[in-house]
Amino acid sequence: MNRNIVISFGFHTLLVLITAMSLPFLSKKPIDLPPIVSVELIQITDKTNIPFAPKAKKIIEKVKEKEKEKKLVSEQAPPKIVKKEKPDAVPLPDEKIEKVKKIKEEKQNPEKIETEVKQVSEFEKKDLFDPNSIAALIDKSKIESAESNKKLDKITQDQDKSIDLSALSLSEEDALKAQIFGCWSIPLGLPYNENLLVRIKLQLKPDGTIIRSEILDHARMNKPGQGFYKVLAESALRAVKLCQPLRVPSTGYERWKELQLNFDAREMLEG
């Protein structure tokens, strides 16, 4: 009886081994199915929900972006770089879906989604549906989930108050950024390794239209060897003009009637 079992076991393992060796498709990775998309969007609020300083948020963003980049860039397949998009992008291309996937795992408030979906439709009326804006908003939710990562240590409640007075709340800032991301057509020919920062100072009306725009580093426009700066600055000005009326907060005009936008193309081009 025992002998039979041993023989049977032996043949079975042999069978399994042979099967495993001669049917290579079994060892392939499972296909990434895009999940049903439900995107967590953030309401614009007056007060800040998250007591982060804007800089901390940037650091967290960068870290998460880098992690994603490592995953997506592979030797074999044509790389789908996280930030870049195909010109005829279908809403929510793969990269964004991957981000959403991550966030979904960490989300905990299903009730919130309903009210925010309503808000979304209002935004959509204003400007063209743009995956970039959703991406920016997703970034925002990344930060919300990062909350649980205990990166709060350095931030205190005091900062919360100061953010209110002298800056846009993160949600206000993100809404404006998302809007401008969609309007800024970055010229692809800019040299990767140069300073690609152009600062534009704006004077705004309460409804978000521009009274005056000024390039702060004007001297660079005509400097020899910095020809690309002119192209960069013009693209930034076009973006701002195209985006009028800007998505400004509904209150606190005194705070933001003069605004400085720092356009930096480095991140997008380095990828």
Binding site: M1, S8, L15, I18, M21, S22, P24
Partner: protein, 159 residues
């Protein structure tokens, strides 16, 4: 369990596993190639009775196989008998490589054959070498078998 049942079961398992191994990825040797080197006669022509005009190579290789050496020995013998004949050795490569490297590879293959003929006393001024890289396949197929037929050095009468 009695013996007949055991035998029946193991027989079934054996058949099943054999069937499965048959489905395994195609091993490199078929009856027309050994390793990766063509051993068939389909595209082979003859310089004289029993003297094949070509030798074949493995992918990216320029070494002569035993079979190749035998063919070349026969060619050498035939050349000694017909001392007025001069030849051109044409080296070729398959299409699965970059164009310029394949030109160099073909030249090396032809020279492999030439060097061997020299060791059998054939004077080097009777032999010239030309490479066609992947430009003159004999088999236009896109299968490993087709490619193996194209990896060759062909001896062509020059006069």
């Amino acid at each position: 369990m009695n013996l007949s049942k055991i035998l029946k079961n193991s027989f079934m398992v054996l058949i099943a596993s054999l069937v499965l191994t048959a489905c395994a990825t195609q091993k490199k040797s078929t009856n027309l190639t050994q390793g990766d080197v063509y051993t068939g006669t389909e595209t082979v022509e003859y310089l004289a009775s029993g003297v094949k005009d070509r030798v074949f190579f493995a992918t990216n290789e320029t070494v002569l196989t035993t079979a190749s050496r035998e063919t070349l020995r026969k060619q050498a013998a035939w050349l000694r008998k017909n001392s007025k004949i001069t030849i051109v050795l044409e080296g070729h490569a398959d299409e699965r490589g970059t164009r310029e490297y394949n030109l160099a590879l073909g030249e090396r293959r032809a020279n492999s054959a030439k060097d061997y003929l020299l060791t059998y006393g054939i004077s080097s001024d009777r032999i010239s070498v030309i490479s066609y890289g992947k430009e003159r396949p004999v088999d236009s197929g896109s299968t490993p078998l087709s490619w193996s037929k194209n990896r060759r050095s062909v001896t062509v009468k020059a006069n």
